[in-house]
Amino acid sequence: MFTGQLQREFKLLLRSREELANPLIFLFLALTLFALGGGGSPELLSAFAPAIIWVLVLLANLLALEGMFRRDFDDGSLEMLVLLAEPLFLPLLAKIFMHWLYSGLAMTLLAPLAALILFLPAEVVPTLLLTLLVGTPALSLIGAIGAALTVSLRKGGVLLALLVLPLYVPVLIFGAGAVSEQMAGISNMAQIYWLLVISMIALTVAPFLVAAALRISLEQ
């Protein structure tokens, strides 16, 4: 059931390739704007680089979230999925995993480039990648709950941001904090473990809350 859904999502993704790149383009566009707005000063930019990269990853993730269930809801596939799949959390996990692949993982892979633009010291880049790799699953999982709650609403976009961003606060703090500490030369394993813990809690709780939220959203 997991693989069946994964295949479907993959096919859908292939058919909408042009949308796929949008969050990534947004990420780099916003990075460029930051560099331009900051006057291009290497010291300033590198001091803020962990925060800028993490905040933009949050926002790009959010951008990709809106489409997570929207299309399926509009054409009725979501209704079918909820009725047919038993247990429901398996295909939902497949959907969330797919979202993570093209937002979280893709951004992790592109993060060295972002680090380059913002003059982040090279020795910190592995830490940045590690925090992104461990932290972004939590973003996709928590975000999926928000996406499921707002899927039936026509103008769900801003509302989704309002619901989800406060819940992203711990991930941002630990993620950006770990990189900053590394820059200051302090041990940062605790933060990375915390990111791992948050992702694990999200992994156990989110699929059920997403399933509940979808059932609620379909009730109309």
Binding site: Q5, R8, K11, L12, R15, D75, E79, M80, L83, P91
Partner: protein, 204 residues
């Protein structure tokens, strides 16, 4: 004869309007119940209650495993009919042959065309193919093999031409003969031998 659906004292009040009160219904295998009634009388809501998509009711509901076909065809615009049916099969574990089913609903040759490029009627036909593969194709002993004997159809004739409507009647007839049952909301004449009508919204 196995009972496929029992509704006991079902009451549903939506937005302060009583859609139905103390509704009772028993649907055996081989039965088809047609839901009629004016717009807004609760036909769709009743079907959604039975399907479990709407839980804000009181009363008792017991339904056999079912297949629900709602207002929206449930077909992703970006998938091909074949991919859609394969996904459906992976969710339900049904073993019917997708190619054969698509041929039956008149979509032979359209298997690999993205649904986006099809007409609304053709997309409805893809949805009908779902009914076929969930049943399995082996006609001789289909009666025992039906994994989802209850069909819940909400306005199945929407967007279909004469041939398509005839197809639904055929599918329903075969389904009922092999021991299935159906609850069907439509304004059109079903023209089936074993069909009863249940009128909603008669009381004001």
């Amino acid at each position: 004869m196995p009972i496929l659906l029992t509704i006991k004292n079902l009451t549903c009040i939506r937005e302060g309007r009583t859609l139905f009160r103390n509704l009772n219904l028993a649907l055996n295998s081989g039965d088809c119940v047609q839901l009629t009634g004016p717009n807004g009388s609760g036909k769709s809501t009743l079907l959604r209650c039975v399907a479990g998509l709407f839980a804000d009711y009181s009363g008792n509901l017991e339904a056999a495993p079912f297949l629900y076909l709602g207002h929206k065809p449930g077909v992703s615009a970006l998938l091909t009919p074949l991919a859609h049916l394969r996904w459906f099969a992976s969710m339900t574990g049904s073993t019917g042959d997708p190619l054969q089913a698509l041929a039956r609903v008149g979509l032979a040759g359209y298997e690999e065309i993205v649904c986006q490029q099809m007409s609304a009627g053709q997309q409805r036909r893809v949805a009908l193919a779902r009914l076929l593969i969930s049943d399995g194709q082996d006609e001789q002993d289909a009666g025992e093999k039906r994994s989802r004997p209850l069909w819940l159809l909400d306005e199945p004739f929407t967007a279909l031409d004469d041939k398509g409507q005839e197809l639904i009647r055929q599918l329903l007839t075969e389904h009922l003969q092999s021991g299935g049952g159906a609850l069907c909301a439509t304004h059109q004449d079903l023209g089936l031998a074993g069909s009863r009508a249940l009128a909603l919204g008669g009381t004001t």
